[in-house]
Structures are given as structure tokens and as C-alpha cells.
């Protein structure tokens, strides 16, 4: 069943607005495709056969539901009770597959014959290539050349899965530029091609669709917390790049006013240095990739390149619903540096035998600060959005730098 948080229903009008954010700032050529997608999505939500197929694939193919796990040794070290929603155990190793299975089913429903996607860390690219292999559709993935370098294992995985990977050299050669290039491909091939957007970003209806497909994270973990902890968490913590894992887990708790929702952005070298990827914490309101939200920009409205050790967070924008959650105060956003994320990465490896993605490590890096505030009796749920095998090279490089 589609889950629309009550807080959001009046806001998510036909135009896809979250307060002043969201909308559709795209070329005229794409507007009819967005209408078509919106309509196909609405119909799919009323079609029990679609829902049954989606549920079956998520269960039998992707391995849902994922566990919620009480991390006792980490809890002891950090000083509060920490629960992990294990999206790293999903097929392909991250939450991204929840969305790609849904979107590729939708693409088939719309009789699209070709799929394109952008990817940063490569997790969404792998998840899209996987869903396309599963359903027999050709897939092309746009990835910044810098990310191709630092996430090489994921490039190899995509190619094994039959996808064609385009290394993009324009701009900062990262996620932003991959998304530019995906949009250019889509505007050219829009009649035959579905653009499988990987985050709660982009023009309406993408932020809504991706949120809804990821809301299963929050829906499952809310039930699991009640069963296993006997209560709702005091806080839910997730990393935020575009913001899809965060939006997915927040969706399950958004109506529980007592549950704090905390998004952790990438502070890179530190927010004060200007080299970061934290638009909610240190950006301004702008329009990038089809939606109004917070972005990193100059006073003249040029988009500024983001900086993060984590390819998946290395993006100067963020999903529009997060912008609205920030302004309304329903969620709070903070940022942690590359170094703090690396420390948290090692801590989780050491205490729990789990190698997290560098993206996810940002959420863990905020836990010590939160523990000081909430104290030892707090229950905190963290979205463990992905596993870190892909990041080993980056982490080892950094270890050598540190000596």
C-alpha cells in the first residue's frame, strides 16, 4: 500500500510542492513525460496486481524485510541504545534497490524500452542495472569520471549486469554532472526512455515516487522498534545527500511527533572551509535539476561544486521535501566532516563487524554528539543505508595518508 505521511498530504498537490519547494523546472520537452509518469504512478498505486508484483519482488528477490538490529557493543561505546535498520542487507547492498524495482516496474507499465540513470557512489547505478537485468531492459548509467575512479568496483558490477556506463568529464565530474548528462539524454530520447532517478530529488513526481518506494524502510522499522524495543525511538538518524534513505525512514515516523528526525549531511573538510556538501546546513534556496530546494550556490546563482569523501553525498542539492522538513522544524539537519565519518566507519567495523558505506558512516558520526544530549536511556534508530565494500580503496588511501 502506498504510504503518504499525513503531514505531507495537503502539501503534495498536483504540482508536487512541499511548501515553496519542489515543482517542475525542466525543459518543455520533458513536461509531458512527467505528466505521463505521474499518471502511470497514480494508476499503479490503485492496481493491486502492481502492488502484489512489487511486494513479491521486494520479498523474494531483494530480500525484504530487512532486520532491525540492536547494536549492543556500539551502544555501549557511544552511550545510548542504538538500533540499526539493516538496508545494507538488501540485494545489491543498499536501500537503492527498493526504488529501482518499483521504477522499472513502472517503466514496463509505460512500455518504455530503455532505462537511463545517474549515479554517484554507484549504488543506484548498480541497483538500476540489477532491476533492468531482472526485467530484461537495456540500461545506461551516467557517472562522473571522478566517481568512476573512486567507486571502481561498482562500475565493474554495473558492466557485469549488462549496463553501459558513461564516464562524465564535464564540471566537477561527479554526481551533479552525471545528472546533467542524464537529463540531456532524457530530453533527447524521452519518447522511448524512462529516467530512473535515484534520489528524492528532481522534478515532480520523482521526489514523491522515490519517497514512497523508500518508505518501506520506515514502515518496517517502526513495527520492528515496537516489537523489539517495545517503544518508538527517541530519534531516527540518517545520512542525507539527495536524501532518499533519510526520506524513506523518516516517512515511517513523521506522524509520531515525539520522534526526532535527524538528517546528517556531509561537511567535507568542514562547513567553514566552504568545501562541503551540506546545502541544508550551509546553502541557500535555488533551483537545480528540476526542483526548488536548498542548493550550494554563489551570490549570482551559479551552482557550486560539492566536496565530500563520500561519492553518494557529493552533491550540491537535496530533495525538496527535506527543505520543507527543515523549514517546518519537523526534521533537523546537521553535518559531519570526512574525518568524523571515517572514524565512525572504523568504529562500526570494530564494534559490530559491519562495514558501512561511507555515506552511511556520516549518520554514525553524529551519534556521539546525540548521545551527550539524549543520555544512556535513549533509543536511537539509525538507517544503515548501505554496505562499504565499494569504499575500501578510498578508506585505505586515507589510512595511509593519516599514517
Amino acid at each position: 500500500m502506498r504510504y503518504v505521511p499525513r503531514l505531507m498530504q495537503p502539501l503534495e498537490s498536483v504540482s508536487g510542492r512541499y511548501g515553496p519547494y519542489g515543482g517542475r523546472y525542466v525543459a518543455e520537452t520533458l513536461m509531458p513525460a512527467l505528466d505521463e509518469l505521474t499518471q502511470a504512478y497514480e494508476e499503479s498505486q490503485r492496481d493491486p496486481a502492481f502492488q502484489a508484483e512489487l511486494d513479491s519482488l521486494l520479498h523474494h528477490y531483494a530480500g525484504r524485510k530487512t532486520p532491525t538490529y540492536f547494536a549492543s557493543r556500539l551502544s555501549e561505546e557511544v552511550g545510548m541504545r542504538i538500533w540499526l535498520k539493516r538496508e545494507d542487507l538488501c540485494h545489491t547492498g543498499a536501500h537503492k534497490v527498493n526504488n529501482t524495482i518499483g521504477q522499472i516496474l513502472l517503466a514496463k507499465r509505460m512500455h518504455k524500452t530503455r532505462i537511463i540513470a545517474e549515479t554517484g557512489a554507484g549504488q543506484h547505478g548498480v541497483a538500476t542495472a540489477t532491476a533492468c537485468a531482472l526485467m530484461g531492459l537495456p540500461c545506461e548509467v551516467f557517472m562522473g569520471a571522478e566517481d568512476v575512479r573512486r567507486q571502481a568496483p561498482n562500475v565493474q558490477r554495473m558492466e557485469l549486469l549488462g549496463a553501459k556506463v558513461h564516464a562524465i568529464t564535464s564540471g566537477s565530474a561527479t554526481l551533479k554532472d552525471a545528472m546533467n548528462e542524464a537529463l540531456r539524454d532524457w530530453v533527447t530520447n524521452v519518447r522511448t526512455t524512462h529516467y530512473c532517478v535515484g534520489s528524492v530529488a528532481g522534478p515532480h513526481p520523482y521526489p514523491m515516487i522515490v519517497r514512497d518506494f523508500q518508505a518501506i524502510i520506515g514502515r518496517e522499522s517502526r513495527v520492528q522498534m515496537l516489537e523489539q524495543a517495545g517503544r518508538l525511538p527517541d530519534a531516527v538518524v540518517a545520512c542525507v545527500g539527495g536524501g532518499s534513505n533519510a526520506m524513506g525512514i523518516f516517512a515511517g515516523f513523521i506522524d509520531d511527533a515525539a520522534v526526532r528526525l535527524i538528517g546528517v549531511e556531509a561537511a567535507g573538510d568542514g562547513v567553514a572551509t566552504g568545501k562541503h556538501a551540506a546545502p541544508l546546513c550551509a546553502g541557500g534556496v535555488g533551483v537545480l535539476h528540476g526542483a526548488k530546494s536548498y542548493v550550494l550556490q554563489t551570490a549570482d546563482g551559479q551552482i557550486v561544486e560539492a566536496h565530500s569523501i563520500s561519492a553518494g553525498l557529493d552533491y550540491p542539492g537535496v530533495g525538496p521535501e527535506h527543505a520543507w522538513l527543515k523549514d517546518t522544524g519537523r526534521a533537523t539537519y546537521t553535518a559531519v566532516t570526512d574525518d568524523a565519518a571515517l572514524d565512525a566507519f572504523h568504529q562500526l567495523c570494530r564494534t559490530e563487524g559491519i562495514i558501512p558505506a561511507l555515506e552511511t558512516s556520516h549518520a554514525f558520526a553524529y551519534l556521539p554528539t546525540l548521545a551527550k544530549e539524549l543520555g544512556p536511556d535513549a533509543d536511537v534508530l539509525v538507517c544503515l543505508s548501505g554496505r562499504g565494500d565499494k569504499d575500501l580503496e578510498t578508506v585505505i588511501e586515507k589510512l595511509e595518508e593519516r599514517g
Partner: protein
Amino acid sequence: MGRIADAFENARNENRAALVIYLCAGDPDLNATVELVVAAADSGADVVELGVPFSDPTADGPAIQRAAQRSLRGGTTLAKVLETVRVIRRRTDVPILLFGYYNPILAYGEQKLVDDAAESGADGFLVVNLPPEESAGLRGPAVERGLDFVPLVAPTSDPHRIKQAGEMATSFIYYVSMTGVTGSTATDLASASKRAAALQRELGRPLAIGFGVKTKADVATVSPHADGVVVGSAVVQAIEAAASTDEAVAAVRALVSELTGGLARQ
């Protein structure tokens, strides 16, 4: 009637299409832009689309992307583009349409931009990623101030969206000849031109065809059918290939003069 509508009217009276030339402001620099606009106007451009560079031009192909990057590296801002328009206005009356993406406009402030653009002597706006649904904040003040807001129609636009564009147009409608980015090779310009002609009759507004129009022969294909024809990437590439501003000015003069040879209707 504004300068842009006048230019289309004049061309029609001369039994030809209006020639619209795109230049990226600040490529290679803003002083050169003044000379290039004057050269284009002197050589027969009826309207100049002056591109305001943006860091993430998602509707543009490689040629205009590179031009925008060169321009931004040189420090071009929307405010400096408006100053440049003011300088151009001392030299030529050619209609100037500011052409770009929404974020620099949002950052500048829509009402302030309309006021400053009107004072600088600019004639209107075309914003690639601002469809009718999102355009009220700029279009309202612009129309009130007597500036044009140019809507786009794409090959994918349905009848409702086409009608909407017709109602919004104050001068002409930009007709995107194909699904694609700027600078692509048009596959069937002749069919697009005929379609544009039918839409002109239906909407009672002039259409200018852009995307994939590069040569005098392309212009000649469009001209019998559409009221306007836009050449962008070819001009930008001629400027890119030039070794100096003087060479760029000469190249633009030569190219625009040649393109005008395709405008006449038989």
C-alpha cells in the same frame, strides 16, 4: 508592440522569416559581446538571443556548454550582462532577448531583474527550464513592464500545452524542432517547419524554429514555413574557433550574412 514583435512584422512584410541569432554573453568576454551583437545586427540578425551563462545548462549541447563555462570563468554575472546590454543599446536597436536558466534569475530577484532589464534596454526573457506552470513570478512582472516572455513548444507538447503557450506569448513562440539538446543535428527540419506553419495559423502567433538549424540551407528549409529561425550553436562554434575578438567579429559577420541568404521566400 515591442521591438521583438516589430522585427517579426518587418520580416513578414519583406516576405521572409526573421533571423534570430544566439550568442553567449561573456564568450570570450563582455567587451567582445558588445562587438559581436553589433556585428550580428549589422549583418542581418533581426533578433539577438543573449545567453546568460549557467553552471548546469541541462538543455544545451557541448558547444554552448563550453561557451557558458568560458564565460563564467571570465566572471560573467547576470548583473554584468545587463550592463553590457546598456552598452549595446548605445550602438544598435536590435531586439535583445535574454536567454537562460532560472537559478541566476531567482538569485537576482524576479521583480528586480524585470526593472533592471527594462532600464538596460533588453526586450524580454526566454527561460529554458521555466515552463508555464512555474513562470508566473517572472512573466507577470515582465508583461506588466512591457517586456516579452517567450514560451516554448516542443515536439512532445500536447494540444493543451500548445494552446497555453499561444495564450502566453507576447511576441513569438520558440518551437523546438526535435527532442534533444542545442547543437544536435536535426533529422527532419522540413517536417518540423511544416508543423510550425500549421501551429502559427492555429495560434495566430509567429513561431521561430530552433535546435539543429546550422547552415544557410537549413535556414532556407525553414524560411518558407515558419516566421522565424534561430541559429545558436553554429554561431557559438564560429566564435570558439576564432583566435581573437576581431576574428570572432569577422566570423560572425560572415556567418550571419550567409545565413540571411537563406531567408528569402520564393
